[in-house]
Symmetry: C2
Subunit: 162 residues, 2 copies
């Protein structure tokens, strides 16, 4: 499904727009957020290709309507993995504003990530998706992801905060 608008790679100059979407995302799902200002400051560093990011490379894709208003984003961390020649793309966030869900924005963002992953020779795309987010899980299953669907054969995304 196509949507009226376009997806493009975000640069450091888009940090505020990306931060605003990420903040809205966390507010919607009752997850703590450090606030748009802190997020924007981190993103200016993470999305600057000239900056030294010793931990790895981060990319963001923005979906915008025909007037340039942000509709969603995909935030991806690229890291090496011993099982593949190329990197693995870890989709840290994939978010579409509530009013535009079900209209192809998420699919366009994921397609942009897949294009980028194929361009750089990535071996796989990985992400964590929460069990209550049934729409997200259905979306990823439809787009060829495995690991979260067959009871007894699933993989869990575990975390320990420090």
């Amino acid at each position: 499904m196509a949507f009226e608008g376009a997806v493009r790679r975000a640069g450091a100059e888009d940090a505020a727009a990306v931060a605003g979407l990420l903040h809205d995302f966390n507010i919607e799902f009752d997850t703590p957020s450090p606030g748009p200002a802190v997020l924007a400051e981190r993103l200016r560093r993470l999305l600057d290709p000239a900056a030294a990011n010793p931990g790895g490379r981060t990319t963001a894709h923005l979906a915008e309507d025909t007037g340039g208003a942000p509709l969603g984003l995909a935030l991806v961390t690229w890291h090496p993995n011993v099982w593949y020649d190329g990197p693995v793309a870890l989709v840290d966030e994939l978010y579409v504003v509530p009013a535009r869900r079900g209209g192809g924005v998420g699919g366009a963002l994921l397609a942009a990530v897949v294009d980028e992953a194929e361009r750089v020779g990535a071996g796989a795309i990985e992400l964590g998706a929460d069990e209550p987010d049934v729409d997200a899980l259905r979306f990823y299953r439809r787009h060829g992801f495995v690991g979260g669907f067959e009871p007894g054969e699933r993989s869990f995304f575990l975390q320990r905060e420090l």
Copy 2:
């Protein structure tokens, strides 16, 4: 529980030992492996601190018995994340040879990863664990991980190979 031996950071010169353990790991769990030679070649590059790893930083910890024979390893990728000031440690592999399981080797390896994570100011430790690996899931739950244990509140680790 302590074990007779020690855990140390592996360097590029340990690539063959790490590759051997990873290969054995995949053979044991019927997962395809590119073979120890290919893994060792990749690890020589990934574990060399002087090498350019554009995708991020990889570390390996080796557990060895008192004679220096490898008993297990932890392979970790460190990547930036917008939700934390510091990096996130993604535990790609944590493996203990079958004969030494249940003897504290895994706990010592995880403790070494936690030490390293605290040293570099990491925000969280993350990993994927398969549903059939009940011993591994119990181990991670005991060590303070969340996300894979309460039905309805779990998070799935999804993957799409390219």
